[in-house]
Amino acid sequence: MAKNSTGYYFLLPSIIVLGFTSVYPAVYSFILSFYNWNWGAQQDFVGLSNYLFLLGDREFWIVIKNTFLFAFFACSIEVTLGILLAIYIDRISFGAGIIRSILLIPLMISGIVVSLMSKMMLNKLFGVIPYLMKQIGFSSGFYGTKDSAMWTLIGVDAWWQTAFVFIIILAGLQSIPKEPIEAARIDGVSEWGITRYIRLPMIRSLIFLVILFRSIDTLKIFDLVWGATGGGPGLSTEVVQTYAYRTAYGFLQMSKAMTIIVIFSIIVALLTIFYHRVDRKMR
């Protein structure tokens, strides 16, 4: 390895661009979260009062609850379904390529398109799904009522992102060496036994990685919610990022919005560092 300064010159452009696009705005947000800037000339230092206000704000806690509810259920459903799918499809050899390609399609669709597709299909008057459900005697308000909107979003997110888990776990399953599986089979271990006691333990670190990626991604959800419900009806589907957007761009309460997102970013950063540490240990 060469030990001169050339390496730093090659790294410099990245440091400048990433510094400008990440460190600079993050520090800016952090500093202004101690001010009372509402997009005007007034900008006074107010100490911790934005933080104290939010901690006592009922609306903020509803939003936090919504965000974690969405992340928990969407992530659980996607991880469970994705792993099950991967286990089944791992057994297929004929046609596996095409099945894999098809199942991957939802991942290539943007959140806004997914939200609009779901809005059209679930539309109370014109949608195909309420129509079909009515034929067999069921009905749901989907995005229209406070009780069902969040669950509808979770279901739509599962349609959209289960493939993420599936494709990674499938790659993991397919990279497992054949010998221990053959040996277990000769010993008469059932197929599910092999999966439970050999395959899944061998891809433990991968399952962990997938859970962390999905949990961070679902906590940050924005485009799907913004496109489908805009946070409504009422506050029933408002999540942190839609709430921060509305506070900043709707009400121009810039400092309050920055405080919201700073608190949230600390949670995400801690999760990320935790992941990075464990990931390095597992390798």
């Binding site: 452009p13 390609s101 597709m117 539309n123 014109f126 920055m258 997102i261």
Partner: protein
């Protein structure tokens, strides 16, 4: 029955696969069919599976200036952002592979944190900073801001491709008197070209589908296609033809792109930690 018992693992696997494929494709096919229906056929009850397709929605959407502009904007922004990210990331990945960088660990940690943090942490202050700098609602401004996500991703990917190049090739180049810059573009570049292409494609998919940052940093001149499609979702009425057609137009190129980069998608999804 004996046939079933012997092959039940395979049979159940095909049944699961069939259901999953159906659940994936039906919504897309349904929206595709809606986009080919004329206005009168859209809401017939019961919904029709067979009908005479019309392409009027597709010819109409290209007459919509708003949609056409956002489509072109997206192409421009995607090209800008990819050129920027691949060039810069190639240098960085090269530095990380070849040189003894003292704060390498911290740098990699910074990359993953920047990649993971919620978009509005950066967008809300940038909304004000960009207006001062004249980058608000500009193609280049959006392409630059996309680097917060695309650049860590590209560095990660290109580094994992560079790591596959044997060290002996590098040593040989140094002995032949290649400067570090020459080693990069004469030796490494041709070898990892497929990796660069895959990274560029995966970047393109992400940029094409991005909405959050664009919503915060553009207004009218440089809105990308995601915002063009969102605009069909009116507050009073919904433009069903525009929405279905716009959705299909946004989906198709990305699916083709994905097929081209299929081999590297798993690596992409896991930031280079898993080989597909």
């Amino acid at each position: 029955m004996r046939f079933y018992k012997k092959h039940r693992h395979i049979i159940s696997a095909y049944i699961v696969a069939f259901i999953a494929v159906l659940a994936t494709l039906l919504p897309i096919i349904w929206v595709g069919m809606l986009s080919l229906k004329s206005k009168g056929q859209t809401f017939t009850r019961p919904p029709k599976w067979f009908f005479e397709p019309t392409f009027s929605n597709y010819s109409k959407i290209w007459e919509n200036d708003l949609f056409t502009d956002t489509f072109i904007n997206s192409i421009i922004i995607t090209i800008f952002a990819i050129i920027l990210s691949i060039t810069i990331a190639l240098f960085a990945a090269f530095a990380l592979k070849r040189y003894n960088i003292r704060f390498k660990g911290a740098f990699m940690q910074w990359l993953i944190i920047a990649y993971m943090l919620p978009e509005f942490l950066f967008i809300i202050p940038m909304y004000s900073i960009y207006q001062t700098l004249g980058l608000y609602d500009a193609h280049i401004g959006l392409a630059l801001m996309y680097q917060v996500h695309v650049l860590p991703f590209s560095i990660w990917m290109l580094r994992s491709f560079l790591d596959e190049v044997p060290k002996e090739i590098d040593d040989a180049a140094t002995m032949d008197g290649c400067s570090s810059f020459e080693t990069l573009y004469k030796i490494y570049l041709p070898l990892i070209l497929p990796g660069i292409t895959a990274t560029a494609i995966l970047n393109a998919i992400w940029i094409w589908n991005e909405l959050t940052i664009a919503l915060g940093l553009t207004f009218s001149n440089s809105q990308p296609i995601t915002l063009g499609i969102a605009s069909f979702r009116g507050y009073i009425s919904i433009d069903w033809g525009g929405m279905t057609t716009g959705s299909i137009i946004a989906i198709v190129p990305m699916v083709i792109f994905a097929l081209l980069a299929q081999k590297h998608i798993v690596k992409g999804l896991t930031l280079g930690s898993v080989k597909g």
